[in-house]
C-alpha cells in the first residue's frame, strides 16, 4: 500500500479507550469497570441490561470484553476474535443531540469527518434470549462498521420508558482503522514511554485466542458443560422462585434479595450454551428448546429486577409519607 497521507501519530489501543472514556466522562457518563462474568456482548452486562429498566436516568460508559466462543479462529484469522472489546455507552434518556455527540466522539479520537465518509445505515438490534430489541443504525466509516447505535425499545419483554440510547464501539475495528493495520494482532496496544517499544495486541491477547479457541472447539467437555448448565439453571430458577415472595419481604430482606445474583447465574447459562454451541454439541432441534430455557431465566430476572425496584420505591414513598 502506498503511503496515502502523512501518518498522524495514530492512537494506540489504550489511548483510543482513554480518549473515548474521557469524552463520555465529560458528557456526564460514570465510567464503570468491565463486568467480571462472561458475556457475549456489552449489552448483557447488568450495567446495560438491568439499568435500562425502570424510570431512573442513567449515563454510564464501560469497556466490556465480550466472549463469543464460536467466533474463535485459533488466532489465525486477522479479523475474527473469540474475545473482543466493546466500549458501551448508555444514555437514558437519550439526549437530543446524541448523534452529534457521537460524531464529536469520533473527532475526539482523531477522525476528521470532512476527510471521511460516514453513513448511518439501518440496523436493528435484537437479543431474543433477553426479550430485548431496539432500532438503530450501524455506523459505517469508509465502508467499515465501527459502531452499533441503538434506541432500546424493550428489555426483558418490557417496554422501556424512558427509552435508552446505546452506543457500542468496536474497539479493535476502530484501532485497526486508525492504525491502518490489516491484522488485529498488529494493533499497537501501548508504547513504552522510555524505550518507544511497541506492545501489540497480539502480544497481549494471541495466546488467549489460541487457547480459548482450542478449549471451545476441542477440549471443553460436553457432558460437564451440560451439567454446568443444569446446575446454574437450577440455582437461578430457585432464586426466581423465591423472588416471587419479594412483596412480602421486609425492607432489609427486599433490598438484599439477590436478583443480581440470579442474573449472573443466567449469564453463566448463556455462556455455557455458547460453549456447547461452539463445540457442536447442540443439534438444531435442541437449540430452540435450550434457548427458550435460558430466555425464561433472563426475562424472569429482568421482571424480578423491575419488581424489586418498584417495591423499593413504593416503600421509600410510604416511608416518607409515614
Amino acid at each position: 500500500m502506498t503511503a496515502i497521507r502523512e501518518k498522524k501519530k495514530a492512537l494506540t489501543f489504550q489511548e483510543l479507550l482513554f480518549r473515548l472514556q474521557r469524552f463520555w466522562a465529560d458528557q456526564g457518563c460514570v465510567l464503570q469497570q468491565p463486568y467480571d462474568v462472561e458475556v457475549g456482548a456489552g449489552t448483557m452486562s447488568p450495567d446495560t441490561f438491568l439499568r435500562v429498566l425502570g424510570p431512573k436516568p442513567v449515563r454510564i460508559a464501560y469497556a466490556q470484553p465480550s466472549r463469543r466462543p464460536a467466533d474463535g479462529r485459533y488466532g489465525e484469522n486477522p479479523n475474527r476474535l473469540f474475545r473482543h472489546t466493546q466500549l458501551q455507552v448508555i444514555l437514558k434518556p437519550p439526549p437530543e443531540r446524541i448523534q452529534e455527540l457521537y460524531l464529536e466522539s469520533l473527532e475526539a479520537i482523531g477522525i476528521d469527518l470532512r476527510e471521511h465518509d460516514i453513513k448511518f445505515e439501518e440496523d436493528n438490534w435484537e437479543w431474543p434470549v433477553g426479550g430485548a430489541w431496539g432500532v438503530g443504525w450501524q455506523v459505517m466509516l469508509d465502508g467499515l462498521e465501527i459502531t452499533q447505535f441503538t434506541y432500546f425499545q424493550q428489555c426483558g419483554g418490557m417496554d422501556l420508558d424512558p427509552i435508552c440510547g446505546e452506543i457500542t464501539y468496536g474497539l479493535e475495528r476502530i484501532a485497526g482503522f486508525l492504525q491502518d493495520v490489516d491484522s488485529i494482532y498488529d494493533i499497537v496496544w501501548a508504547v513504552e514511554p522510555d524505550t518507544g517499544r511497541k506492545v501489540t495486541y497480539g502480544e497481549m491477547r494471541l495466546a488467549e485466542e489460541e487457547q480459548f479457541s482450542a478449549y471451545s472447539f476441542d477440549y471443553a467437555e460436553v457432558p460437564k458443560l451440560w451439567e454446568h448448565l443444569k446446575l446454574y439453571e437450577a440455582e437461578c430458577l430457585d432464586l426466581l422462585d423465591k423472588s416471587k415472595k419479594m412483596s412480602e419481604m421486609d425492607p432489609l430482606a427486599l433490598k438484599r434479595f439477590p436478583v443480581l445474583g440470579a442474573y449472573e447465574l443466567a449469564l453463566k447459562c448463556s455462556h455455557v450454551f455458547n460453549l456447547l454451541d461452539a463445540r457442536g454439541a447442540i443439534s438444531v432441534t435442541e437449540r430452540v428448546g435450550v434457548m427458550a430455557r435460558i430466555r425464561s431465566l433472563v426475562v424472569g430476572v429482568a421482571k424480578a429486577y423491575a419488581a424489586q425496584g418498584e417495591l423499593r420505591s413504593k416503600e421509600a414513598a410510604s416511608g416518607i409519607a409515614g
Binding site: 486477522p78 479479523n79 437519550p94 465518509d117 469508509d142 490489516d182
Partner: protein
Amino acid sequence: MFTPVRRKDEFKMADFLLEIGLEEVPARMIAGAEAELKRRVLALLEREHLAQSDVSSKSFSTPRRLAVLISGVADQQEDIREELTGPSVKVAYKDGAPTPAAMAFAKKAGVAVDELKTVTTPKGEYLVASVLKQGRRTSEVLAEELPKEIASIYWAKNMYWRLGKPERFVRPVRWLLALLDDQIVPFEFGGKTAGKLTYGHRILFGEEALAVKSPKDYEAALLDAKVIADVETRRQKIRKALDHVTRTIAGARWREDHALIDTLTHLTEWASDRAVVLGNFESEYLSLPEEVLVTVMRDHQKYLALEDESGKLMPHFLAVLNTEAADAGLAVIRHGNERVLRARFNDARFFWEFDQRVPLKERVKQLEDVTFQKELGSYAAKTGRVRELALGLAELSVSRGSQVDAVALDEAALLAKTDLTTELVKEFTELQGIVGGLYARAQGTSATAADAMYDQYLPASMEDSVPRTVEGSLLAIADRADTIAGMFGLGMEPTGSKDPFALRRAANGIVKILAESPTSVPLTLSEIAGRATANEAVESRVRAFLVERLEFYLREVRGEAYDVVAAVLAAGNDDVRDAIARAQAVSAVRASADFAAVSAAFKRMKNILGQAKEKGYADLASHEAEVENMHPTQADLKQAAHALQHKVEQLREDHQYVPALEAVATLRPQVDAFFDQVMVMDPDEKVRRSRLALLTSILKSFSGIADFSEIVTAG
C-alpha cells in the same frame, strides 16, 4: 348541500411547504413514505376545499427529511352556505304556530324561527335552515390536521422515543418546517414545533440551522447547504459520477444494479463527481467465484462492480459516498474502503478453501443434524423425499417426450441441501444453492447436476428467472412441492397476511416454472400435488392452493382481467401453459361485439339452467325430448350449434383457441333470435325440456376453452 358564497378567485393563492426533519430513516422505507406524505397532504387540501386535486405539487426526501411543496393553495376556506334539514312541517307547526321541535331546530341552526323555509321531498315537506358556514384560515386548518396526517404515515418498523410514549414514528423527529408562503403554520408533532428552519448536510454544511424564506426557495436553500433534496436529481448525479469515475479505467463499465443505486440514493444527501471513489482489489481474488465477489461487494459493502467489455469482473469497485472530498480526502476514503473489502474477500476465500476440505458428498450425512422442520424431520429426510419426488416427476415428463438426465437429477437432489453445512453459506445465506452448485462443479459433479443445484431456488420472486434446465426445474418443483405438502399436512397453511414459511412464494415458483421454463415441463398441478403427498385430503388442499397461485399468476404476472381468469380456470385449471394460452385467446377476442353478446347469452343460459334446477326440472342432459313443431329459432339454433360443435372441438384440440372462440361467436344471430322469440320456461313440460336440453348441450359443447358465463359484459 352547500354553495360557496365567496368565489375562490377572491382568495390569495399561496405555496405550502412541509418538511419533517428526522434522524436517518432506513433507506428501504424512504420512497414509500415520501409518496405517502405527498398523497396525504394533497388529500387533506382537497378534502378541506383548499386546493384542487390537480394542484401542482412536488415531494422531496433524503435520509434526514421528507418534504412536500404544493403551489396554489387557497389561504382561506370559502364561506359556505349550507342547507340543514330539520323536522317535517307536520311536526314543526301546530295550528300555524311553531312547535318546540321547530324552535329547537332553529336554535341549533342559529337562525330565527321565521327565517326557516320549507322544502318538498319525496317523503313530504320538511323545514330547512340556510346557514352560513364561515371558512377557516388555511393555516389554522393545516395546523389542526397535519399532526394527524404525519402520525398516520406507515412505517415497516417504527419506534417511540419520548417519555410516556406519546407517538411512534420511524426515527425521532428533529425538526419541523411548515410554511404557507412566508408564514409559519404553527403545529406540533413528536415534541417539535414547526418553524421555518431546516438543516443542511451533517458534514459538508454543519450543524447550523438555515432559514427558508418561502416555500419556493426550499430546494435552492438546501442546495447551498449541500443537500440535493430531489431524489431523481440525486440518482442521476450518482449515475453520472459513476460513469465519470469509471472512465478512468480503459474498457471498463460499471455493472448496472438498479436496486443498489436506489439504496445508495436513499443513503445520501449529496452527490457529485467527487462523491464516488473507485477502489481496487488484488486480482488474485478474481479466482473466487464471481457470485461470491459480487455478493460481498453488493450486499455487504454496497459497492458496484466493474466489468470489462465481455462482462468479466475487473479488480475494481465503486463506492458511493455521502460526502465529497478533495483528492487527499478521497484517497483516504478509498484506502479505507479497499482495506475493508480486502478483509471481506479474505474471509470469503478462507471459507471457500476451508469448505472444500469436506466434499459435498461427505456432507450428506451431516444433514441428519440439520432440522428442516421439527415435525418434518431433518434435511436428510427432506432430501430423501425430494429425490423420490423429483425422479417420479421426471418419469412422468419422460413419458411425455421430455429429455431428462435422471442420473444427474438424482445426484443434484441428493446434494442439493449439503451446502447448508458449509461455512460460506453460513456467512452468505443469500448464496445457498449457488454455493452448492459452485462446489459441486469444483468437485467434479456433472455439469447438469451442478447447474440444477445452482438453480434450485429460482425463481426467487415473480420478476426472477426460472431454472435453465429441465433437471433444475424438476428439482426446484420437487423441493417446493415437498415443503408445501409437508406444511399443509401439519395444518400450517398460509392464512390472510400470515405466511411464515413463504409457502405462497414457493407455490408461485412452481407455477412460474411450469409457465416459463425454456424446456417445457409437461406436468399438471394435480400430478405435482398427487405425487407430493399420499394423503388425499392434503393433496386436494395443495392442488387448490396451486390453482389459487395460478390464478394469481394469470392476473398479476400476465395481467389478465379478473373475469377472463375466472372463465378460463372454470374450464380447466390443471395445465398451466394451456390455461395461459386460453386466457390470452379470450383476452384477444373479448372486445368483439359478437363475442360479448355470446358471452352474455351464455350467462343467461347458465342462469336459466340454474333456476330450472332449483325448480326441480332435473335430468336435463339425459336426452333431448322429441317435440313436434319446434319453434323455428330453436331449430335454427340447434342446427347451428350442431354444425359448429365438431369444428370448435377440433380447433380446441389443436390449441387453436382464437379461431375456436371466433367460431363460437358466430352463433350470435341464432342465439339472439332464440332468446328474442322464445320463452325457455314454457308451460308445456315437453317443450320446456327440449329447450333446457338444448341449452345444456350448447353450454357443454362450447365451454371447453372458457366458461363464457364468467365474462363480465357491458350493459
